[in-house]
Symmetry: C2
DNA sequence: CATATATTATAAGCGTGCTTACTATTCAAG
DNA sequence: CTTGAATAGTAAGCACGCTTATAATATATG
């Protein structure tokens, strides 16, 4: 054990885990009137921005497994948030479209998200916020499978 | 919406979520030889440090619900990681003790954790790391139920 | 054309967390 | 002592992510 991490780094796992959990909780609390979970919100944002996207591509973008997308969509289709349409060219493909309900909720979602983030980061300077964001991006990048691969692909589809 | 968040803050939710998921994944990858999940590791660390702690207190410390502790312990007891003993004074209480196996694994756990954190934070200066940790602590604190309550209670159970 | 390989979506089942509801036990009043 | 409230733990069932396996379709190759 090279570094003793007496600086608090040893808490990193706990901290990230807790922060993520609490943010998700807060999201679901503030957004419960819409009947969407945090995961469904994430998906909805994607679908509104990329209408007609295929499920497989959605899974790529969200960095979750196709089966997770499938089951999320099951519930969201039931709730009238999205539509699945067959692709005429490739009958394996289901294209995902947001409903009007979704498009209308989209603005509200962004607003709620802004509130949550503001609440979460309260007390931190703009500079500190930037560093926190940079740190999180770094963590995601460093742990993105590659492990040994140190490419710099923040823009292309790789990083999302 | 006061701030347009063109600074990337709008990504905070995605970033924290992704970072937490990837760290958990990495933990489970590196630690799979021990047969412990990330959640079980968190619990184990607590139990080794607080031998004989009651389940309810454990839930408080880990900030998860008692039922989650209960089911985690079910599997860990099966795996020979912990023992549940009745408290003679209060027969409702189950005191949790680590087994020898646990105590021996504890060192390895810390080592693996150090590796993961080092990997995750690679490329960030000590100063930046401190800011990231501060930011996460702030987020956790700001979102800890209270919402309006801004006291500094990291120890007591006030927030829950 | 026929066969092999890809890809798209889904099914089944597990781990972790949650909410809600329940039992058992303790403790505080009357 | 008895009633009632609080506490410790668990059960049931859901959401979300995962892995592994399967069906349907597309595409490449013999």
């Amino acid at each position: 054990m090279p570094l003793m991490n007496l600086d608090g780094t040893e808490r990193l796992g706990f901290l990230i885990h807790d922060a993520a959990r609490m943010m998700r909780k807060r999201f679901e609390m503030l957004g419960s009137s819409y009947g969407l979970s945090a995961a469904q919100w994430r998906l909805l944002v994607r679908v509104v921005k990329d209408e007609g996207v295929a499920q497989a591509r959605l899974a790529e973008l969200l960095e979750i497994e196709p089966i997770s997308v499938s089951r999320l969509l099951d519930r969201m289709e039931e709730g009238g948030w999205v539509e699945r349409r067959q692709d005429a060219a490739d009958r394996r493909v289901r294209m995902i479209f947001p409903t009007d309900k979704s498009r209308q909720a989209f603005g509200a979602i962004k607003s709620v998200a802004g509130e949550v983030f503001e609440q979460a980061l309260a007390g931190l300077s703009q500079e500190q916020r930037q560093t926190v964001l940079l740190g999180l991006k770094t963590i995601v990048h460093n742990l993105s499978d590659g492990e040994a691969s140190c490419q710099h692909d923040n823009e292309k589809g790789a990083a999302r």
